[in-house]
Symmetry: C2
Subunit: 432 residues, 2 copies
């Protein structure tokens, strides 16, 4: 058993009883076993001592909605409406993606996320074995799912579902428990109702949660009404999707009644402010969701619609935009935004031992370099993290007790190679 102590640090614990601690944290293997003002003595019993002076320690960030391989399309189609962007830019080129592309696109995203303080991410994509292997190699934590689009003949639907089921079964609990899985109909508008019901049944059979895109645009909501006679929430409820633990991405266009339905079924909402703004999808009713007690977390979505994977930016957007839209300067306070990015993110994917710095929690945490102009004066560190910090302030990153990034350098992936291969993939995809 390896025992490490960090001394002289400033810790944002996410424990509401003691949100900020100046002192020490002890790790034993992959767990936090102590945090407090005083260092448990004697110091010579520790295998490693880390001086945390001028560092701010906080839980790693949890990105609850991403399509990592889409980083290959960063900047490839901007300033377009969602449906145009999807149908004319993304889907044609994504249709050419091979396992090789998904491998390097995912590694590119993992590199960006991990160096920027994200320790756990949700990924919904294709060629998911490549994604799982990249997660395993990188040392990150992830909740993975093969998203299936059902706009295809029955035999192709069946093959996709079989593949998604196999993936979910093969990888759940793997990589030392760092990988969990879900089942995912891509969206109500890309999956016929009977196909969604089949996917829900598999989730029941495997005892897994479900993930889907929902009510991202007003047009998609109206189309659902036109096609199925119901808005997406009622439609998915009827198809049994909320009979399982469920995480829905976006949920921009919700009525008061729909918020109640989500609350009743304890459906978790992944709020993706950057992507929703960029695609002009609208502004989710986050203050109302929070008021009704719905668990809200944050996602970057894919890098093609964001265009970065900086979770500090998503926390800041979540804290900022709802104030101006509602006219209420406390609509989403800094404390709510940091919860959404950390502990509420972890709980949104049913990780109960991730997301805060407390004894018994997994050692998934990050440090920020405090000795910089935008963190002065030393006033309110939660405020500094939400309103002033960025991914580039992250110095060190640990996941499951293992250091993955040290002083800004990723220890587990070969950055130069990843950048080179990602560029090659993009050039091949766009030259065909």
């Amino acid at each position: 058993m390896k025992k490490t102590i960090i001394t002289n640090g400033t810790f944002l614990t996410m424990n509401p009883e003691k949100p900020v601690i100046q002192g020490c944290m002890v790790l034993e293997d992959n767990l936090i076993t102590y945090i407090g003002e005083e260092a448990p003595q004697p110091l010579d019993t520790y295998d490693e001592q880390i001086n945390g002076k001028d560092k701010l320690y906080m839980p790693g960030l949890v990105n609850t909605h991403c399509h990592a391989a889409m980083s290959l399309l960063r900047g490839y189609g901007d300033d377009l409406a969602l449906q145009v962007w999807l149908q004319e830019k993304m889907w044609p080129i994504e249709g050419k993606f091979t396992a090789h592309d998904v491998k390097w696109g995912t590694q590119l995203s993992i590199l960006e996320m991990i160096k920027g303080g994200t320790t756990t991410f949700v990924d919904m994509y294709d060629h998911m074995n490549e994604v799982a292997q990249a997660v395993e190699e990188s040392g990150m934590r992830a909740c993975l799912t093969r998203g299936v689009i059902g706009l295809c003949p029955p035999e192709v639907q069946d093959a996709k579902l079989k593949e998604a089921t196999q993936f979910a079964r093969d990888w759940h609990g793997k990589a030392g428990g760092r990988i969990t899985t879900m089942m995912s109909p891509h969206a109500p508008y890309t999956c016929p109702p009977d196909y969604i019901e089949k996917i829900v049944q598999v989730a029941h059979d495997l005892n897994l949660p479900l993930h889907t895109h929902m009510s991202e645009t007003a047009r998609e909501v109206q189309d659902n009404v036109d096609q199925y006679g119901a808005r997406p929430v009622a439609h998915l409820e009827k198809l049994g999707l909320f009979s399982r633990p469920a995480l829905v991405a976006h949920a921009v266009h919700l009525t008061d009644d729909e918020i109640q339905v989500l609350k009743q079924h304890d459906v978790r909402v992944s709020h993706n402010p950057g992507s929703n703004l960029k695609l002009a999808s609208g502004i989710a009713r986050v203050p109302e969701l929070l008021k009704q007690g719905v668990k809200v977390s944050l996602g970057t979505d894919g890098a093609a619609s964001n265009n970065n994977l900086d979770m500090f930016e998503e926390m800041r957007l979540a804290a900022l935009i709802h104030k101006a839209v509602s006219g209420d300067p406390v609509a989403v306070p800094a404390e709510a935004a940091i919860r959404m990015g950390t502990i509420d993110g972890a709980q949104s994917i049913w990780l109960e031992d991730v997301g805060s710095l407390q004894p018994g929690m997994k050692a998934d945490f990050i440090s920020l370099n405090l000795n910089q102009p935008h963190f002065f004066p030393k006033t309110n560190y939660i405020s500094h993290v939400i309103y002033s910090a960025s991914a580039k302030d992250v110095a060190d990153v640990w996941v499951d007790g293992r250091m993955l990034v040290k002083n800004g350098e990723c220890l587990t992936l070969d950055e130069e190679k990843v950048l080179y291969e990602a560029q090659r993939c993009f050039e091949r995809l766009t030259s065909q």
Copy 2:
């Protein structure tokens, strides 16, 4: 005369005819004298050759509304409405600010801005000699103005106006031409009409532009109507403020007619999205302003209401929020946002030889480290700058042909001392 050539670079020129150039740029003293694919030969005639490989060069960012010394209050009062924040948190402690506090608060902000790629800023504050000296020492470019609040007895009003006039006269054109000045009534709600008229007269006498806060909150607009029978635009027009070249900050709450008035008088608008969001002031009608041909630039406002001075973030917010609010994904495209942050910013403060990389322009420019995951693949660099970059990506900064930041290190200010002194000021101010 010193002659420098940068080779192998990627240049965002802000010249619409040739927005991106892969090649070389030549500086002679404080001017850009060449930019193009080929290096003017022979290379041994240059005093310095810089290899621009893996660097993206672009004009320095222009921050058109700031109160630099307010960085001392970063994180001191968050998640409050504008009037509460001003009257209960900011004004009481700002009332204690001495010249010493303004000196170190301004240096703290200059350090953050300059390292983050801002080469020019507008500052409206008190103790402006300290600000001007800090600008001179730092090597930055600035447009400075002593903002006067007229809620005081006539003799105090007169003293303030005299001081503001003296400052504007003393410093206009100083620091090798890097400093220009303006006259500034703080806001219609803090200056009686006759006081505003007096300030306008001084601007006429000194042939200087005017700067003011305007229509930042709905409440302030309503108060203006209640008190003076007119909304702020008509009120200021009547008082002659737009008879001079004028830059107004915020301009969140505007009618169609008011936009026409601003256009008729060629009034420039400093859009401050971060501050407007954070203080729940509302969302400015930027797409309409742009459509009507009003010159719109970007400002951070003071760090106490932002809470950083990252102009990349302001460009990104300007590009993102108006899309979602209007439902139009091309409401403010990346190309418009980068103009607002560079050339339109310079033109908003009447600098015609700053803001683009073209022969004859002042050598105010920055470089970004391209060799990072969030800039891959190499697709659209304007998109990458707007949707993916941050202040922390800036490597090198030049103003007026002089290198002020090299590989992230400020060459003109003592960072360690600035951080130390700013912290000391904050502690003294809050312990009294």
